[in-house]
Assembly symmetry: C2
Homo-oligomer: 321 residues x 2
Protein backbone atom coordinates (compact mmCIF):
# COMPACT_ATOMS: atom_id res chain seq x y z
CA UNK A 1 0.00 0.00 0.00
CA UNK A 2 1.36 3.42 -0.90
CA UNK A 3 1.54 5.84 1.98
CA UNK A 4 1.27 9.58 1.63
CA UNK A 5 5.03 9.71 2.23
CA UNK A 6 5.72 7.29 -0.66
CA UNK A 7 3.65 9.44 -3.02
CA UNK A 8 5.40 12.62 -1.93
CA UNK A 9 8.88 11.24 -2.48
CA UNK A 10 7.94 9.62 -5.82
CA UNK A 11 5.95 12.40 -7.47
CA UNK A 12 6.29 15.69 -5.65
CA UNK A 13 9.68 16.09 -4.01
CA UNK A 14 12.22 17.95 -6.11
CA UNK A 15 15.44 19.68 -5.03
CA UNK A 16 14.53 23.17 -3.82
CA UNK A 17 16.45 26.09 -5.34
CA UNK A 18 19.24 27.70 -3.29
CA UNK A 19 17.85 29.79 -0.44
CA UNK A 20 14.56 27.86 -0.23
CA UNK A 21 13.40 24.93 1.87
CA UNK A 22 11.18 22.61 -0.15
CA UNK A 23 8.88 19.61 0.41
CA UNK A 24 9.47 17.68 3.63
CA UNK A 25 9.00 19.95 6.64
CA UNK A 26 5.93 21.59 8.19
CA UNK A 27 6.37 24.64 5.98
CA UNK A 28 8.42 25.63 2.97
CA UNK A 29 10.74 28.62 3.40
CA UNK A 30 11.58 31.29 0.85
CA UNK A 31 12.28 35.01 0.71
CA UNK A 32 11.65 37.74 -1.85
CA UNK A 33 14.55 39.98 -2.86
CA UNK A 34 15.22 42.81 -0.41
CA UNK A 35 12.81 45.65 -1.11
CA UNK A 36 10.45 43.43 -3.11
CA UNK A 37 6.97 42.30 -2.13
CA UNK A 38 5.59 38.79 -2.40
CA UNK A 39 2.54 38.29 -4.61
CA UNK A 40 0.37 35.26 -3.92
CA UNK A 41 -2.75 33.68 -5.33
CA UNK A 42 -4.61 30.39 -4.95
CA UNK A 43 -7.02 28.43 -7.17
CA UNK A 44 -9.20 25.41 -6.54
CA UNK A 45 -9.92 23.12 -9.49
CA UNK A 46 -12.75 20.66 -8.97
CA UNK A 47 -13.60 17.60 -11.04
CA UNK A 48 -16.95 18.17 -12.72
CA UNK A 49 -16.72 21.97 -12.47
CA UNK A 50 -13.33 22.82 -13.99
CA UNK A 51 -12.32 19.57 -15.64
CA UNK A 52 -13.52 16.02 -16.24
CA UNK A 53 -12.06 12.77 -14.91
CA UNK A 54 -11.18 11.69 -18.44
CA UNK A 55 -9.25 14.89 -19.29
CA UNK A 56 -5.63 14.39 -20.25
CA UNK A 57 -3.67 14.40 -16.95
CA UNK A 58 -0.55 16.02 -18.43
CA UNK A 59 -2.58 18.97 -19.71
CA UNK A 60 -4.40 19.18 -16.40
CA UNK A 61 -1.11 19.35 -14.48
CA UNK A 62 0.11 22.06 -16.84
CA UNK A 63 -3.11 24.09 -16.69
CA UNK A 64 -3.50 23.87 -12.90
CA UNK A 65 -0.19 25.70 -12.55
CA UNK A 66 -0.62 27.93 -15.62
CA UNK A 67 -3.83 29.55 -14.38
CA UNK A 68 -2.02 30.53 -11.18
CA UNK A 69 1.14 31.76 -12.90
CA UNK A 70 -1.24 33.87 -14.97
CA UNK A 71 -2.36 35.61 -11.75
CA UNK A 72 1.27 36.45 -10.94
CA UNK A 73 1.76 37.81 -14.48
CA UNK A 74 -1.34 39.95 -13.99
CA UNK A 75 0.44 41.72 -11.11
CA UNK A 76 3.71 42.11 -13.04
CA UNK A 77 5.27 39.63 -10.58
CA UNK A 78 7.87 37.02 -11.47
CA UNK A 79 7.29 33.46 -10.24
CA UNK A 80 9.19 32.25 -7.16
CA UNK A 81 7.61 28.96 -6.11
CA UNK A 82 4.33 27.07 -5.78
CA UNK A 83 2.40 24.72 -3.48
CA UNK A 84 0.16 21.88 -4.70
CA UNK A 85 -2.74 20.29 -2.85
CA UNK A 86 -4.05 17.13 -4.46
CA UNK A 87 -6.99 15.05 -3.32
CA UNK A 88 -7.39 11.74 -5.11
CA UNK A 89 -10.28 9.25 -5.28
CA UNK A 90 -7.71 6.48 -5.76
CA UNK A 91 -4.00 6.08 -6.42
CA UNK A 92 -3.47 5.74 -10.16
CA UNK A 93 0.25 5.79 -10.86
CA UNK A 94 -0.19 6.34 -14.61
CA UNK A 95 -2.37 9.36 -13.94
CA UNK A 96 -0.07 10.72 -11.20
CA UNK A 97 3.05 10.35 -13.33
CA UNK A 98 1.47 12.22 -16.26
CA UNK A 99 -0.11 14.92 -14.07
CA UNK A 100 3.07 15.69 -12.16
CA UNK A 101 5.12 15.59 -15.39
CA UNK A 102 2.86 18.30 -16.88
CA UNK A 103 3.03 20.29 -13.66
CA UNK A 104 6.79 20.06 -13.07
CA UNK A 105 7.56 20.74 -16.73
CA UNK A 106 5.86 24.16 -16.64
CA UNK A 107 7.20 24.79 -13.11
CA UNK A 108 10.74 24.30 -14.37
CA UNK A 109 10.24 26.39 -17.53
CA UNK A 110 8.62 29.28 -15.62
CA UNK A 111 11.09 28.96 -12.71
CA UNK A 112 8.26 28.30 -10.27
CA UNK A 113 9.41 25.18 -8.38
CA UNK A 114 7.06 23.08 -6.26
CA UNK A 115 8.16 23.58 -2.64
CA UNK A 116 5.25 22.21 -0.62
CA UNK A 117 1.77 20.78 -0.61
CA UNK A 118 -0.72 18.31 0.72
CA UNK A 119 -1.86 14.94 -0.62
CA UNK A 120 -5.00 13.32 0.64
CA UNK A 121 -7.85 11.02 -0.29
CA UNK A 122 -11.11 12.31 -1.72
CA UNK A 123 -14.17 10.06 -1.72
CA UNK A 124 -16.04 11.99 -4.40
CA UNK A 125 -13.71 13.30 -7.06
CA UNK A 126 -10.38 14.79 -7.86
CA UNK A 127 -9.52 18.16 -6.31
CA UNK A 128 -6.49 20.26 -7.19
CA UNK A 129 -5.44 23.36 -5.29
CA UNK A 130 -2.46 25.41 -6.39
CA UNK A 131 -0.96 28.39 -4.59
CA UNK A 132 1.71 30.46 -6.30
CA UNK A 133 4.21 32.83 -4.76
CA UNK A 134 5.95 35.51 -6.78
CA UNK A 135 7.87 38.70 -6.26
CA UNK A 136 7.55 42.26 -7.55
CA UNK A 137 9.46 45.44 -6.62
CA UNK A 138 7.58 47.12 -3.73
CA UNK A 139 5.01 49.59 -5.00
CA UNK A 140 5.27 48.48 -8.66
CA UNK A 141 2.62 45.76 -8.79
CA UNK A 142 0.02 46.26 -11.54
CA UNK A 143 -3.29 46.90 -9.77
CA UNK A 144 -6.77 46.84 -11.29
CA UNK A 145 -7.34 50.28 -9.89
CA UNK A 146 -4.38 51.97 -11.63
CA UNK A 147 -5.75 52.65 -15.15
CA UNK A 148 -5.73 56.33 -16.19
CA UNK A 149 -7.61 58.19 -18.93
CA UNK A 150 -5.73 58.15 -22.27
CA UNK A 151 -3.89 54.92 -21.35
CA UNK A 152 -3.55 52.49 -24.23
CA UNK A 153 -5.32 49.16 -23.66
CA UNK A 154 -3.19 46.15 -24.63
CA UNK A 155 -3.69 42.42 -24.78
CA UNK A 156 -1.05 39.71 -25.00
CA UNK A 157 -1.32 36.60 -27.15
CA UNK A 158 -4.23 35.66 -29.38
CA UNK A 159 -7.95 35.76 -28.64
CA UNK A 160 -10.86 33.49 -29.51
CA UNK A 161 -9.21 30.07 -29.68
CA UNK A 162 -9.87 28.85 -26.12
CA UNK A 163 -13.58 29.62 -26.37
CA UNK A 164 -13.93 28.02 -29.81
CA UNK A 165 -12.18 24.87 -28.56
CA UNK A 166 -14.52 24.79 -25.55
CA UNK A 167 -17.67 25.26 -27.68
CA UNK A 168 -16.51 22.53 -30.07
CA UNK A 169 -15.85 20.16 -27.21
CA UNK A 170 -19.23 20.90 -25.62
CA UNK A 171 -20.94 20.22 -28.96
CA UNK A 172 -22.24 23.80 -29.11
CA UNK A 173 -20.45 24.28 -32.44
CA UNK A 174 -20.63 21.73 -35.31
CA UNK A 175 -17.90 19.09 -35.05
CA UNK A 176 -14.73 20.25 -36.80
CA UNK A 177 -11.66 18.14 -35.95
CA UNK A 178 -9.22 20.42 -37.80
CA UNK A 179 -10.46 23.52 -36.01
CA UNK A 180 -10.36 21.69 -32.65
CA UNK A 181 -6.80 20.51 -33.35
CA UNK A 182 -5.76 24.10 -34.12
CA UNK A 183 -7.39 25.65 -31.04
CA UNK A 184 -7.25 23.03 -28.28
CA UNK A 185 -3.81 24.00 -26.99
CA UNK A 186 -5.13 27.48 -26.20
CA UNK A 187 -7.68 25.82 -23.90
CA UNK A 188 -5.66 22.89 -22.53
CA UNK A 189 -2.10 24.23 -22.42
CA UNK A 190 -2.37 27.99 -21.83
CA UNK A 191 1.00 29.70 -21.74
CA UNK A 192 0.70 32.89 -19.68
CA UNK A 193 3.32 35.56 -20.43
CA UNK A 194 5.33 34.98 -17.24
CA UNK A 195 8.61 36.14 -18.79
CA UNK A 196 7.10 39.33 -20.24
CA UNK A 197 4.90 40.45 -17.34
CA UNK A 198 7.68 41.45 -14.88
CA UNK A 199 8.92 43.98 -17.46
CA UNK A 200 5.55 45.73 -17.18
CA UNK A 201 5.99 46.49 -13.46
CA UNK A 202 6.92 50.16 -13.31
CA UNK A 203 6.00 50.62 -17.02
CA UNK A 204 2.30 49.74 -17.32
CA UNK A 205 -0.53 50.93 -15.05
CA UNK A 206 -3.36 48.39 -14.59
CA UNK A 207 -3.42 44.71 -15.54
CA UNK A 208 -5.36 41.49 -15.11
CA UNK A 209 -5.66 38.18 -16.86
CA UNK A 210 -8.53 37.44 -19.24
CA UNK A 211 -9.85 34.46 -17.28
CA UNK A 212 -13.48 35.62 -17.41
CA UNK A 213 -13.43 37.15 -20.92
CA UNK A 214 -12.05 40.45 -22.19
CA UNK A 215 -15.20 42.52 -21.69
CA UNK A 216 -15.89 41.31 -18.15
CA UNK A 217 -12.25 41.52 -17.09
CA UNK A 218 -11.69 44.95 -18.62
CA UNK A 219 -14.91 45.91 -16.81
CA UNK A 220 -13.16 45.05 -13.52
CA UNK A 221 -10.36 47.49 -14.38
CA UNK A 222 -12.85 50.22 -15.33
CA UNK A 223 -14.84 49.73 -12.14
CA UNK A 224 -11.78 49.73 -9.89
CA UNK A 225 -10.18 52.68 -11.75
CA UNK A 226 -13.42 54.72 -12.11
CA UNK A 227 -13.09 55.27 -15.84
CA UNK A 228 -14.39 54.01 -19.18
CA UNK A 229 -12.89 52.54 -22.35
CA UNK A 230 -13.22 52.18 -26.10
CA UNK A 231 -12.10 48.97 -27.77
CA UNK A 232 -11.40 48.70 -31.51
CA UNK A 233 -12.67 45.32 -32.66
CA UNK A 234 -10.68 45.58 -35.89
CA UNK A 235 -7.45 45.63 -33.88
CA UNK A 236 -8.17 42.41 -31.95
CA UNK A 237 -5.43 39.76 -32.32
CA UNK A 238 -7.81 36.97 -33.35
CA UNK A 239 -6.30 33.48 -33.52
CA UNK A 240 -5.81 32.81 -37.27
CA UNK A 241 -7.53 29.40 -37.08
CA UNK A 242 -10.59 31.20 -35.69
CA UNK A 243 -10.47 34.07 -38.24
CA UNK A 244 -10.40 31.69 -41.19
CA UNK A 245 -12.73 29.10 -39.63
CA UNK A 246 -15.78 30.18 -41.58
CA UNK A 247 -17.69 30.42 -38.30
CA UNK A 248 -20.46 32.98 -38.09
CA UNK A 249 -18.94 36.43 -37.37
CA UNK A 250 -21.17 36.73 -34.28
CA UNK A 251 -19.79 33.46 -32.90
CA UNK A 252 -16.24 34.70 -33.48
CA UNK A 253 -17.01 38.06 -31.94
CA UNK A 254 -18.45 36.40 -28.85
CA UNK A 255 -15.38 34.15 -28.56
CA UNK A 256 -13.01 37.12 -28.88
CA UNK A 257 -14.81 39.58 -26.60
CA UNK A 258 -16.48 37.32 -24.03
CA UNK A 259 -14.62 34.01 -24.18
CA UNK A 260 -12.97 33.16 -20.86
CA UNK A 261 -10.16 30.79 -19.92
CA UNK A 262 -7.65 33.01 -21.80
CA UNK A 263 -4.60 33.12 -19.58
CA UNK A 264 -3.17 36.17 -21.28
CA UNK A 265 -3.04 39.75 -20.01
CA UNK A 266 -5.15 42.81 -20.58
CA UNK A 267 -3.17 45.83 -19.40
CA UNK A 268 -3.16 49.60 -19.70
CA UNK A 269 -0.12 51.81 -20.15
CA UNK A 270 0.67 55.41 -21.08
CA UNK A 271 1.21 56.01 -24.79
CA UNK A 272 4.83 57.10 -24.14
CA UNK A 273 5.58 53.49 -23.15
CA UNK A 274 4.55 51.98 -26.52
CA UNK A 275 8.04 51.45 -27.92
CA UNK A 276 9.45 50.01 -24.72
CA UNK A 277 6.49 47.67 -24.32
CA UNK A 278 6.92 46.37 -27.87
CA UNK A 279 10.67 45.92 -27.30
CA UNK A 280 10.05 43.95 -24.09
CA UNK A 281 7.41 41.84 -25.85
CA UNK A 282 9.83 41.00 -28.68
CA UNK A 283 12.53 40.00 -26.20
CA UNK A 284 10.08 37.70 -24.40
CA UNK A 285 8.70 36.35 -27.71
CA UNK A 286 5.22 37.51 -26.69
CA UNK A 287 2.65 39.14 -28.98
CA UNK A 288 1.43 42.44 -27.49
CA UNK A 289 -1.34 44.32 -29.31
CA UNK A 290 -2.94 47.70 -28.65
CA UNK A 291 -6.71 47.22 -28.82
CA UNK A 292 -8.19 50.39 -27.37
CA UNK A 293 -7.95 53.35 -25.06
CA UNK A 294 -9.04 54.27 -21.52
CA UNK A 295 -11.40 57.24 -21.35
CA UNK A 296 -12.48 59.44 -18.50
CA UNK A 297 -16.20 58.99 -19.25
CA UNK A 298 -17.62 55.77 -17.80
CA UNK A 299 -18.86 52.97 -20.05
CA UNK A 300 -17.27 50.31 -22.23
CA UNK A 301 -17.76 50.72 -25.98
CA UNK A 302 -16.56 48.51 -28.78
CA UNK A 303 -16.39 49.94 -32.29
CA UNK A 304 -15.86 48.20 -35.61
CA UNK A 305 -13.54 49.15 -38.48
CA UNK A 306 -16.05 51.78 -39.67
CA UNK A 307 -16.31 53.35 -36.21
CA UNK A 308 -19.79 51.88 -35.66
CA UNK A 309 -20.76 50.52 -32.23
CA UNK A 310 -20.56 46.73 -31.96
CA UNK A 311 -23.44 45.17 -30.02
CA UNK A 312 -21.93 43.37 -27.06
CA UNK A 313 -22.47 39.79 -25.99
CA UNK A 314 -23.91 39.45 -22.50
CA UNK A 315 -21.64 38.83 -19.50
CA UNK A 316 -18.63 36.61 -18.98
CA UNK A 317 -18.23 33.44 -16.98
CA UNK A 318 -19.25 33.43 -13.34
CA UNK A 319 -18.62 30.39 -11.21
CA UNK A 320 -21.99 30.68 -9.48
CA UNK A 321 -24.40 32.05 -12.10
Amino acid sequence: MDTEFDLISRYFRRAAPAGMLGVGDDCALLAPRTGWQMATSTDLLIEGTHFLAEDDPGSLGHKALAVNISDLAAMGAEPLACLLGLSLPRIDHTWLAAFTEGFHCLAQRARCPLIGGDTTRSPAGLVISVTVLGQVPAGQALLRSAARPEDDIWVTGLLGAADVALQLRLGKLPANPDLLAATRDALDRPDPPWSFAPALAGLAHAALDISDGLLQDLGHILEASHCGARLDYARMPIHPAVSRSGLDPDVIQRAVLAGGDVYQLCFTAPSEARDEIQACARRADVLATRVGVIREAPGLHVIDAEGQAVSLPAGGFDHFS
Copy 2:
Protein backbone atom coordinates in the same frame (compact mmCIF):
# COMPACT_ATOMS: atom_id res chain seq x y z
CA MET B 1 -28.70 34.63 -7.88
CA ASP B 2 -25.52 35.18 -5.90
CA THR B 3 -22.45 35.66 -8.03
CA GLU B 4 -18.94 34.77 -6.92
CA PHE B 5 -18.33 38.51 -6.49
CA ASP B 6 -21.34 38.87 -4.15
CA LEU B 7 -20.06 36.03 -1.97
CA ILE B 8 -16.57 37.49 -1.83
CA SER B 9 -17.71 40.90 -0.72
CA ARG B 10 -20.21 39.49 1.80
CA TYR B 11 -18.15 36.80 3.49
CA PHE B 12 -14.48 37.06 2.61
CA ARG B 13 -13.38 40.62 2.04
CA ARG B 14 -11.88 42.31 5.08
CA ALA B 15 -9.65 45.39 5.25
CA ALA B 16 -6.06 44.26 4.68
CA PRO B 17 -3.45 45.32 7.24
CA ALA B 18 -1.13 48.21 6.40
CA GLY B 19 1.48 47.21 3.83
CA MET B 20 -0.61 44.38 2.37
CA LEU B 21 -3.01 44.19 -0.57
CA GLY B 22 -5.95 41.95 0.24
CA VAL B 23 -8.91 40.32 -1.53
CA GLY B 24 -9.90 41.90 -4.85
CA ASP B 25 -6.98 41.80 -7.29
CA ASP B 26 -5.30 38.93 -9.16
CA CYS B 27 -2.87 38.40 -6.29
CA ALA B 28 -2.50 39.54 -2.73
CA LEU B 29 0.70 41.42 -1.85
CA LEU B 30 2.70 41.24 1.36
CA ALA B 31 6.30 41.31 2.53
CA PRO B 32 8.21 39.72 5.40
CA ARG B 33 10.37 41.94 7.58
CA THR B 34 13.79 42.71 6.10
CA GLY B 35 16.12 39.80 6.78
CA TRP B 36 13.26 37.40 7.54
CA GLN B 37 12.10 34.47 5.48
CA MET B 38 8.55 33.60 4.59
CA ALA B 39 7.20 30.25 5.76
CA THR B 40 4.26 28.77 3.87
CA SER B 41 2.09 25.69 4.05
CA THR B 42 -1.15 24.48 2.47
CA ASP B 43 -3.82 21.96 3.49
CA LEU B 44 -6.76 20.46 1.66
CA LEU B 45 -9.78 19.46 3.74
CA ILE B 46 -12.28 17.21 1.98
CA GLU B 47 -15.84 16.39 3.01
CA GLY B 48 -16.03 12.70 3.87
CA THR B 49 -12.29 12.41 4.55
CA HIS B 50 -11.55 15.18 7.04
CA PHE B 51 -15.02 16.27 8.11
CA LEU B 52 -18.70 15.54 7.57
CA ALA B 53 -21.34 17.72 5.95
CA GLU B 54 -23.21 17.95 9.26
CA ASP B 55 -20.17 19.14 11.26
CA ASP B 56 -20.55 22.48 12.99
CA PRO B 57 -19.51 25.09 10.38
CA GLY B 58 -18.06 27.52 12.94
CA SER B 59 -15.73 24.83 14.29
CA LEU B 60 -14.84 23.80 10.77
CA GLY B 61 -13.88 27.37 9.83
CA HIS B 62 -11.78 27.60 12.98
CA LYS B 63 -10.08 24.24 12.46
CA ALA B 64 -9.35 24.74 8.75
CA LEU B 65 -7.20 27.74 9.68
CA ALA B 66 -5.88 26.29 12.97
CA VAL B 67 -4.29 23.23 11.33
CA ASN B 68 -2.36 25.55 9.01
CA ILE B 69 -1.34 28.01 11.72
CA SER B 70 -0.05 24.93 13.52
CA ASP B 71 2.34 24.32 10.61
CA LEU B 72 3.69 27.86 10.97
CA ALA B 73 4.14 27.33 14.72
CA ALA B 74 6.05 24.14 13.96
CA MET B 75 8.65 26.23 12.10
CA GLY B 76 8.84 28.89 14.83
CA ALA B 77 7.21 31.31 12.37
CA GLU B 78 4.72 34.01 13.28
CA PRO B 79 1.55 34.27 11.17
CA LEU B 80 1.36 36.97 8.50
CA ALA B 81 -1.70 36.19 6.38
CA CYS B 82 -3.74 33.40 4.79
CA LEU B 83 -5.58 32.42 1.61
CA LEU B 84 -8.84 30.42 1.55
CA GLY B 85 -10.15 28.29 -1.30
CA LEU B 86 -13.74 27.14 -0.83
CA SER B 87 -15.70 24.88 -3.13
CA LEU B 88 -19.39 24.59 -2.29
CA PRO B 89 -22.08 22.15 -3.45
CA ARG B 90 -24.64 24.93 -2.96
CA ILE B 91 -24.86 28.41 -1.48
CA ASP B 92 -26.10 28.12 2.09
CA HIS B 93 -25.90 31.55 3.71
CA THR B 94 -26.37 30.21 7.25
CA TRP B 95 -23.49 27.80 6.76
CA LEU B 96 -21.26 30.41 5.07
CA ALA B 97 -21.88 33.00 7.80
CA ALA B 98 -20.97 30.53 10.57
CA PHE B 99 -17.96 29.09 8.71
CA THR B 100 -16.44 32.48 7.90
CA GLU B 101 -17.17 33.74 11.43
CA GLY B 102 -15.15 30.81 12.87
CA PHE B 103 -12.40 31.39 10.34
CA HIS B 104 -12.13 35.18 10.70
CA CYS B 105 -12.34 34.99 14.49
CA LEU B 106 -9.18 32.87 14.74
CA ALA B 107 -7.55 34.86 11.90
CA GLN B 108 -8.01 38.05 13.89
CA ARG B 109 -6.85 36.54 17.19
CA ALA B 110 -3.73 34.98 15.64
CA ARG B 111 -3.07 38.05 13.45
CA CYS B 112 -3.33 35.99 10.29
CA PRO B 113 -5.74 37.99 8.12
CA LEU B 114 -7.44 36.53 5.05
CA ILE B 115 -5.94 38.33 2.04
CA GLY B 116 -7.01 36.19 -0.92
CA GLY B 117 -8.69 33.05 -2.15
CA ASP B 118 -10.98 31.35 -4.58
CA THR B 119 -14.66 30.45 -4.38
CA THR B 120 -16.17 27.95 -6.73
CA ARG B 121 -18.88 25.34 -7.10
CA SER B 122 -18.31 21.70 -6.29
CA PRO B 123 -20.76 19.08 -7.59
CA ALA B 124 -19.77 16.38 -5.11
CA GLY B 125 -18.95 17.83 -1.72
CA LEU B 126 -17.43 20.64 0.22
CA VAL B 127 -13.71 21.30 -0.26
CA ILE B 128 -11.64 23.70 1.82
CA SER B 129 -8.08 24.67 0.99
CA VAL B 130 -6.11 26.98 3.24
CA THR B 131 -2.64 28.39 2.62
CA VAL B 132 -0.84 30.25 5.38
CA LEU B 133 2.07 32.65 5.11
CA GLY B 134 4.28 33.46 8.06
CA GLN B 135 7.68 34.94 8.77
CA VAL B 136 10.73 33.81 10.70
CA PRO B 137 14.20 35.37 11.04
CA ALA B 138 16.38 33.97 8.22
CA GLY B 139 18.20 30.83 9.31
CA GLN B 140 16.22 30.41 12.56
CA ALA B 141 13.33 28.24 11.38
CA LEU B 142 12.88 25.04 13.41
CA LEU B 143 13.64 22.16 11.05
CA ARG B 144 12.87 18.50 11.58
CA SER B 145 16.51 17.74 10.88
CA ALA B 146 17.94 19.93 13.66
CA ALA B 147 17.56 17.70 16.76
CA ARG B 148 20.85 16.92 18.56
CA PRO B 149 21.77 14.21 21.08
CA GLU B 150 21.03 15.29 24.70
CA ASP B 151 18.33 17.75 23.56
CA ASP B 152 15.27 17.79 25.80
CA ILE B 153 12.07 16.72 24.06
CA TRP B 154 9.12 19.00 24.85
CA VAL B 155 5.44 19.05 24.02
CA THR B 156 3.03 21.96 24.31
CA GLY B 157 -0.54 21.69 25.56
CA LEU B 158 -2.28 18.52 26.70
CA LEU B 159 -2.34 15.10 25.06
CA GLY B 160 -5.00 12.45 24.61
CA ALA B 161 -8.19 14.53 24.41
CA ALA B 162 -8.51 14.88 20.63
CA ASP B 163 -8.18 11.15 20.09
CA VAL B 164 -10.62 10.26 22.87
CA ALA B 165 -13.18 12.70 21.43
CA LEU B 166 -12.69 11.15 17.98
CA GLN B 167 -13.07 7.58 19.26
CA LEU B 168 -16.20 8.57 21.21
CA ARG B 169 -17.69 10.20 18.14
CA LEU B 170 -16.88 7.20 15.94
CA GLY B 171 -18.54 4.92 18.50
CA LYS B 172 -15.26 3.08 19.10
CA LEU B 173 -15.50 3.96 22.80
CA PRO B 174 -18.70 3.53 24.87
CA ALA B 175 -20.93 6.62 24.74
CA ASN B 176 -19.95 9.09 27.47
CA PRO B 177 -21.51 12.55 26.99
CA ASP B 178 -19.56 14.13 29.87
CA LEU B 179 -16.22 12.89 28.55
CA LEU B 180 -17.12 14.02 25.03
CA ALA B 181 -18.10 17.46 26.33
CA ALA B 182 -14.76 17.75 28.12
CA THR B 183 -12.63 16.63 25.16
CA ARG B 184 -14.43 17.79 22.02
CA ASP B 185 -12.85 21.24 21.91
CA ALA B 186 -9.41 19.64 21.61
CA LEU B 187 -10.67 17.95 18.42
CA ASP B 188 -12.96 20.64 17.00
CA ARG B 189 -11.31 23.88 18.13
CA PRO B 190 -7.57 23.19 18.36
CA ASP B 191 -5.59 26.19 19.51
CA PRO B 192 -2.02 25.89 18.23
CA PRO B 193 0.60 27.84 20.22
CA TRP B 194 1.03 30.58 17.60
CA SER B 195 2.06 33.20 20.16
CA PHE B 196 4.62 30.94 21.85
CA ALA B 197 6.23 29.31 18.81
CA PRO B 198 8.08 32.38 17.44
CA ALA B 199 9.96 32.62 20.75
CA LEU B 200 11.40 29.16 20.02
CA ALA B 201 13.13 30.32 16.81
CA GLY B 202 16.80 30.67 17.73
CA LEU B 203 16.20 28.88 21.07
CA ALA B 204 14.93 25.39 20.21
CA HIS B 205 16.40 23.01 17.63
CA ALA B 206 13.82 20.78 15.89
CA ALA B 207 10.04 21.06 15.95
CA LEU B 208 6.87 19.79 14.30
CA ASP B 209 3.22 19.60 15.13
CA ILE B 210 1.63 16.43 16.47
CA SER B 211 -0.85 16.05 13.62
CA ASP B 212 -0.11 12.35 13.06
CA GLY B 213 0.47 11.37 16.71
CA LEU B 214 3.44 11.91 19.00
CA LEU B 215 5.28 8.68 18.18
CA GLN B 216 4.96 9.01 14.41
CA ASP B 217 5.77 12.72 14.42
CA LEU B 218 8.74 12.38 16.76
CA GLY B 219 9.81 9.55 14.44
CA HIS B 220 9.99 12.10 11.62
CA ILE B 221 12.37 14.24 13.69
CA LEU B 222 14.52 11.22 14.56
CA GLU B 223 14.69 10.10 10.94
CA ALA B 224 15.56 13.55 9.63
CA SER B 225 18.06 14.22 12.44
CA HIS B 226 19.64 10.72 12.39
CA CYS B 227 19.23 10.11 16.12
CA GLY B 228 17.06 8.29 18.63
CA ALA B 229 14.96 9.23 21.66
CA ARG B 230 13.62 8.11 25.02
CA LEU B 231 10.20 9.31 26.13
CA ASP B 232 9.05 9.16 29.78
CA TYR B 233 5.39 8.19 29.75
CA ALA B 234 5.00 9.33 33.37
CA ARG B 235 5.86 12.88 32.32
CA MET B 236 3.19 13.13 29.60
CA PRO B 237 0.78 16.07 30.06
CA ILE B 238 -2.37 13.99 29.77
CA HIS B 239 -5.63 15.94 29.55
CA PRO B 240 -7.20 15.64 33.04
CA ALA B 241 -10.58 14.56 31.66
CA VAL B 242 -8.77 11.67 29.98
CA SER B 243 -6.66 10.76 33.05
CA ARG B 244 -9.70 10.52 35.29
CA SER B 245 -12.00 9.02 32.65
CA GLY B 246 -11.72 5.49 33.94
CA LEU B 247 -10.84 4.36 30.41
CA ASP B 248 -8.57 1.35 30.08
CA PRO B 249 -4.93 2.46 30.55
CA ASP B 250 -4.06 0.96 27.14
CA VAL B 251 -6.72 3.12 25.48
CA ILE B 252 -5.36 6.20 27.21
CA GLN B 253 -1.79 5.30 26.32
CA ARG B 254 -2.73 4.87 22.67
CA ALA B 255 -4.54 8.23 22.68
CA VAL B 256 -1.55 9.97 24.27
CA LEU B 257 1.23 8.39 22.22
CA ALA B 258 -0.42 7.70 18.87
CA GLY B 259 -3.49 9.95 18.75
CA GLY B 260 -3.29 12.42 15.87
CA ASP B 261 -5.09 15.70 15.17
CA VAL B 262 -3.22 17.35 18.08
CA TYR B 263 -2.27 20.78 16.82
CA GLN B 264 0.38 21.30 19.46
CA LEU B 265 4.15 21.17 19.12
CA CYS B 266 6.75 18.54 19.80
CA PHE B 267 10.14 20.26 19.87
CA THR B 268 13.70 19.63 20.99
CA ALA B 269 15.99 22.12 22.72
CA PRO B 270 19.29 22.12 24.60
CA SER B 271 18.97 21.72 28.35
CA GLU B 272 20.49 25.19 28.91
CA ALA B 273 17.36 26.68 27.37
CA ARG B 274 14.94 25.16 29.94
CA ASP B 275 14.39 28.28 32.02
CA GLU B 276 13.94 30.57 29.05
CA ILE B 277 11.53 28.16 27.39
CA GLN B 278 9.43 27.98 30.55
CA ALA B 279 9.48 31.78 30.86
CA CYS B 280 8.34 32.20 27.26
CA ALA B 281 5.62 29.59 27.76
CA ARG B 282 4.31 31.40 30.83
CA ARG B 283 4.23 34.72 28.98
CA ALA B 284 2.26 33.11 26.14
CA ASP B 285 -0.01 31.24 28.59
CA VAL B 286 1.05 27.93 27.00
CA LEU B 287 1.80 24.71 28.86
CA ALA B 288 5.24 23.36 27.91
CA THR B 289 6.33 19.99 29.31
CA ARG B 290 9.60 18.08 29.05
CA VAL B 291 8.76 14.50 28.14
CA GLY B 292 12.04 12.92 27.09
CA VAL B 293 15.49 13.24 25.65
CA ILE B 294 17.18 12.84 22.27
CA ARG B 295 19.88 10.16 22.16
CA GLU B 296 22.63 9.45 19.68
CA ALA B 297 21.67 5.78 19.35
CA PRO B 298 18.80 5.24 16.89
CA GLY B 299 15.42 3.94 18.05
CA LEU B 300 12.45 5.39 19.93
CA HIS B 301 11.86 3.99 23.40
CA VAL B 302 9.10 4.86 25.83
CA ILE B 303 9.60 4.00 29.51
CA ASP B 304 7.10 4.03 32.34
CA ALA B 305 7.51 5.46 35.87
CA GLU B 306 9.48 2.36 36.91
CA GLY B 307 11.87 2.67 33.96
CA GLN B 308 10.28 -0.33 32.22
CA ALA B 309 9.77 -0.28 28.45
CA VAL B 310 6.22 0.58 27.39
CA SER B 311 4.95 -1.51 24.48
CA LEU B 312 4.12 0.87 21.67
CA PRO B 313 0.88 1.14 19.74
CA ALA B 314 1.33 0.61 15.99
CA GLY B 315 1.73 3.57 13.64
CA GLY B 316 -0.02 6.90 13.39
CA PHE B 317 -2.53 8.18 10.90
CA ASP B 318 -1.69 8.03 7.23
CA HIS B 319 -4.04 9.56 4.72
CA PHE B 320 -3.61 6.68 2.29
CA SER B 321 -3.21 3.56 4.42
